[in-house]
Amino acid sequence: MDTNTIKYSLRKYKLYVIFGPIFKSIEVIFELFTPFVIRYIIDEGISAGLENNYLRIIVPGIILVLMCLLSFGFTFVCQYLSSVCSQGFGTDLRNRIYKKIATLSSLDLEKIGKGNLLTLISNDTNRLQLGIANLIRLAIRAPLLVVGSLIMSIFISIEAFLILFIAVIIIAIPIILIFYFSSRQILKVQESIDKVSSLSNDDLAGARVIRAFNKEEYEINKFKKLSNQYYKDAKVNQTLNALVNPITYLVLNTAAIFVVYLGRDNIFANVPLSAGSLTALIQYLNQITTALIVTFNVVIVLTKAQSSRERVNDFFKIVPSIQDGSITNKDIEYDENELVKFENVSFKYSDSEKNVVNNLDFSIKKGEKIGIIGGTGAGKTTIIKLLERFFDVTSGKILFKGHDIKDFNIKTLREQISLVSQKTSIFNGTIKENVLMGKDDISDEEVVEALKEADAYSFVFKYEDNINHEIVESGKNLSGGQKQRITIARALIKKSDLLILDDSTSALDFLTDKKIRETIASKKDLTTIIISQRATSLKECNKILVMDKGHIVNIGTHEELLKNSPIYKEIYESQVNTHG
């Protein structure tokens, strides 16, 4: 079976999908026979009763009640199968979406959009789940009830069948049209209410600005326009909905009149229908109408599920932009003068024309401390993302330990690099879990040691439960600086060859920042890349890369750059020279 479609999630539930509807069909058959039994009682039972033979009333009566109870039993089984199958399907689908994401890079994810991803795993999955449940529970029941009632009516008389059949068509056509238009209208209504909501949001968020600009009237008029549009859209929808009931009543009851006429004249056979037959036919008529409405609703649920299905299938079909390499050996031999080497590296996003970084050419020796500085959008972080293979170079080559990073198994490559990114990522769980990130071969003492090195233990030890302190809501109970220190500890415990600090001490005060920098500097073997907007944080680096608009404009030590890099000088002075 194709593992790239939603169907794959049903693999464990094939029998459920088959047996659910079968049990449901049995219920329908009972329901279809009920009017026949009633006909028997009215026609045969009563005349037998008049001759003091009550068995013909009592026996079919008991059958009627038994059929009720039995059909409930069969339905119960079907509903049970359906709940297990659809919920199990949804659960499996969620797991698969989750796992698929792990194979994609953040760039891939950004293309899909985070909001869309959340929709995939919540709304879309729920909708598909509901679709499967409906498919099992109703998709068979309702149409079978319609068709079954029509077939049963043939046994009463062919004219009766014709009347019912025509009634079905006359009801179906306008209602399908109404459902079609109203489902489109509902989208419109939803759109206009979204606009109302988003304008309210803007108005409240900007209350100060709006009032400062004296723009209250303007906003109110803007709102009235939107709310008027909503009013119009909603009215159209109301009118469409107001048509459903009258049309149903009209056709249903008119058909009933025709049915009654069958009792009087029977055009073909000349045998008028009995009172019992007429009662049964009217019941079939009612069943058909209810079932038709249910059918349409099921169709709507399934259509909605259809677009979800396409979205999820499309998601499964996405080919990860990063392809895995084969080197899984961390301890390969290499020239220690070139732990990392960028060879003429350029990168641009596939949907843009401008390069984000241009012709980067530099190398990093083992044990070196490298600084990267530059303004917003200069391309500093891009270097790191290329190195971590969050995306691949457009041209040029990046070597790690002498091999093209594309030849490495991605996991192996990443194992050798510790990244502390600009954005602090803290997960729900204990501090220890946040430092370990799933590693299980590390003792608590080592965790404490890493926290101490990152100067995080100074606040962690104050918690009663120490490193087992629970972090809630992605670290809402921690300050920005505390979060940064935990992420630094996380990187240090990883014990990799290359440590990257991407503007990751911005929330720390000067002293803490310095302390951590000193700790890192003392690790002679640890190659480190420090990205910072603070020139002073990079002063001690062996080498500083100055970046501007995607280019490396200068490379050198702090002193050298002050002399020959105007940009570096400007940055440095903007931070220290107060009269600049």
């Binding site: 009633i38 009215i42 008049l50 009550y54 009333i57 009627l64 009640v65 119960f76 509903q79 949804g90 659960t91 989750y98 792990a102 994609l104 890079s105 994810l109 991803l117 959340l118 795993i121 449940a133 988003s198 309210s200 803007d202 108005d203 409240l204 968020a205 900007g206 100060r208 600005v209 400062a212 600009f213 004296n214 303007y218 709310s227 909503y230 009215k235 109301q238 009118t239 009931n245 009258p246 009851n253 009149i257 009172a275 007429l278 009662t279 009217i282 303004g375 917003t376 993302k385 969050f390 990443r414 194992e415 990244l419 990522s425 997960f427 990130m437 799933g438 002293l511 940055i571 220290v576």
Partner: protein, 588 residues
């Protein structure tokens, strides 16, 4: 009760339509109930003819004509009822929304500050919707439902009191059963939603941190965590689904059983009455009437379901109505100021006291002279009251004691609009509304030409990045459309640049822009503020050293003031603050 009165105000205009709706619903219900009765009668006519007891179909034809009439009536009145009701309800919703939005713009800023934005939005969107649903179902379910029950009971007793009693006694059992199941299922659904929320938040955490997850090879471990919640969701969700899917079958089994009992009893009553010589315990039954009764017994339970669903909707609507009323009852912002044409001049703070909660003084005996054309900087630790000064200047709040004077005129005596028209401000929280970049910048000057707008963007150093956007100035942006905080700030600065106000207010406006860009903005602002009064609140002292006058505030009081040189010479609070910042950038 107050909320019902409030709602009535909105309904009053269409009271006649609503009364008409109620009348229509009576006609509708009567027609719908009489159709099965006359169908039963016509079946009886056929029966009598077939058994040779009558010789013509005159009565039959009359019945058919009546049935047709009732069908016509039911169709016409059902449609007009739904149509008219829909109009009224939608109009009420629209007016409620308009009035709420108007109110949002009339209440004092403090009201908006003191309420969660999402909560207020939910009142204008969801609560109005709940009132809409509640009103609709009040008329459509409750009123019609009650009429249906009454008329159906009358008809059932009219046709056969014995069967009527049986149906009336048995029906509540089905109702009770589905009520119990529904209650149980809503309990499971609540839990289902809780776990669904957990699944979503775990998932969001995962995709928001995907870089870290991948770079630390954390995928499997994090999947285990996710799967645990997902399995919990499965257990609860499966139960919720099963139980809720039993509601319909359960009421079906009861209703079908009632029909079976009606048929069996009906047959017996027919037979016994016949052998008794016409009546059984004073009741008569024909085959046609058994058919009618089957219809009634099926239909009788429906209004109960409708009424019960209406009760929860009505409760919802009532509490929503109260939430709407809460906003509508809020006091409007009062402005006793007069229309004053403000000329350029000085602004004086005269022993101003202010507190947001009447407990803790935020501003304490604050006096300050802002000379025309001066560049004033407000400095101080977080929470010292800097932003409050701006709130008071723009009359978002008024002082509790003391006065703020514009050209010797007390601020409270000047219309808020007159004061605000003089200021251009850039706030800490940037405000970008959904619309094009052009609209966002031109917000401060609707009739601005494109050249002017471009110029403003250029001066704010944001022309570069705007032109790099997919559709340039026409790109639709919103608060969360992916612009960085810095970019959003640049756009709001451009907005003020375009306005060319007399006085500039900048509240930490450059705090999220990197130092290089910030320097350029400061240059631009310097250009803009030339010969103009400006008041700047800043954390980064490097941006304000050129100010004419620096006011150091702590605990709502001015503790030092003067220009940079003077303050440095004092070696006081400012001196320390300044040096602390130096330490931060690494110079000792």
């Amino acid at each position: 009760m107050a909320s019902i009165k409030f709602l009535f105000k909105y309904l009053k205009r269409d009271l006649l339509t609503l009364i008409l709706c109620v009348c229509f619903s009576i006609i509708l219900v009567i027609s719908l109930t009489l159709i099965p009765y006359f169908i039963g009668l016509s079946i009886d006519q056929i029966d009598l003819f077939n058994s040779g007891k009558i010789l013509n179909f005159d009565d039959f034809t009359f019945d058919i004509i009546l049935i047709s009439l009732f069908i016509a009536l039911s169709v016409i009145f059902q449609f007009t009822f739904d149509f008219l009701l829909g109009r009224v309800v939608e109009r009420v919703s629209k007016e409620l929304r308009d009035d709420l939005f108007l109110k949002f713009n009339e209440v004092p800023i403090s009201f908006i500050d003191n309420h969660l934005k999402g909560d207020l939005i939910s009142r204008i969107v969801n609560d109005v919707d709940n009132v809409n649903t509640g009103l609709t179902s009040f008329f459509r379910q409750l009123i019609i439902g009650i009429f249906q029950v009454i008329i159906m009971i009358i008809m059932m007793f009219y046709v056969n009191y014995l069967l009527a009693i049986v149906v009336i006694i048995l029906t509540p059992f089905g109702f009770l059963l589905s009520y119990i199941i529904a209650k149980k299922s809503s309990k499971y659904y609540k839990e289902n939603n809780r776990f669904m929320g957990e699944v979503s938040s775990n998932f969001l955490e995962y995709i928001n941190n995907i870089d870290v997850v991948e770079s630390y090879n954390y995928e499997e471990y994090s999947f285990e965590k996710f799967n645990k919640i997902n399995q919990d969701l499965y257990k609860v969700g499966q139960k919720a689904q099963l139980i809720s899917s039993l509601i319909n079958p359960a009421s079906r089994v009861i209703n079908n059983s009632i029909t079976a009992v009606v048929v069996i009893l009906g047959a017996f009553i027919y037979v016994l009455a016949f052998s008794n010589g016409g009546t059984f315990l004073g009741s008569v039954l024909t085959t046609g009437m058994i058919s009618t009764f089957i219809q009634y017994s099926i239909q009788y339970s429906k209004p109960f379901d409708a009424i019960s669903s209406c009760v929860s909707e009505a409760q919802n609507a009532y509490s929503s109505l109260n939430r709407i009323l809460y906003v509508m009852d809020a006091k409007n912002d009062v402005d006793n100021g007069k229309e004053v044409s403000l000329k350029k001049g000085e602004i004086v703070f005269n022993h101003v006291d202010f507190s947001y909660d009447n407990k803790r003084k935020i501003i304490d005996d604050f006096s300050l002279l802002i000379k025309e054309g001066h560049k004033i900087a407000l400095v101080g630790p977080t929470g010292c009251g800097k932003t409050t000064i701006i709130n008071l200047l723009l009359r978002f709040y008024d002082p509790n004691k003391g006065t703020i004077d514009f050209n010797n005129e007390h601020s409270v005596d000047i219309k808020k609009q007159n004061i605000r028209a003089k200021f251009g401000m850039v706030l800490q929280d940037t405000w970008i509304f959904k619309g094009s970049v052009l609209e966002n910048i031109a917000y401060s000057k609707e009739d601005a030409t494109f050249e002017e707008i471009k110029e403003a963007a250029k001066n704010a150093n944001c022309l570069d990045f705007i032109e790099r956007l997919p559709q340039g100035f026409d790109t639709i942006i919103s608060d969360n459309s992916g612009l960085s905080v810095g970019e959003k700030q640049l756009i709001s600065i451009a907005r003020v640049m375009l306005m060319k106000p007399e006085i500039l207010l900048l509240d930490e406006a450059t705090s999220n822009i990197d130092t290089r860009t910030e320097l350029k903005i400061v240059e631009a602002i310097n250009r803009l503020t030339e010969d103009k009064t400006s008041i700047m609140v800043a954390h980064r002292l490097s941006t304000i050293v050129n100010s004419d006058y620096i006011v150091v505030i702590n605990n709502g009081k001015i503790i030092e003031s003067g220009n940079h040189k003077e303050l440095m010479a004092k070696k006081g609070f400012y001196f320390n603050l300044y040096n602390a910042q130096f330490e931060e950038v690494g110079i000792k």
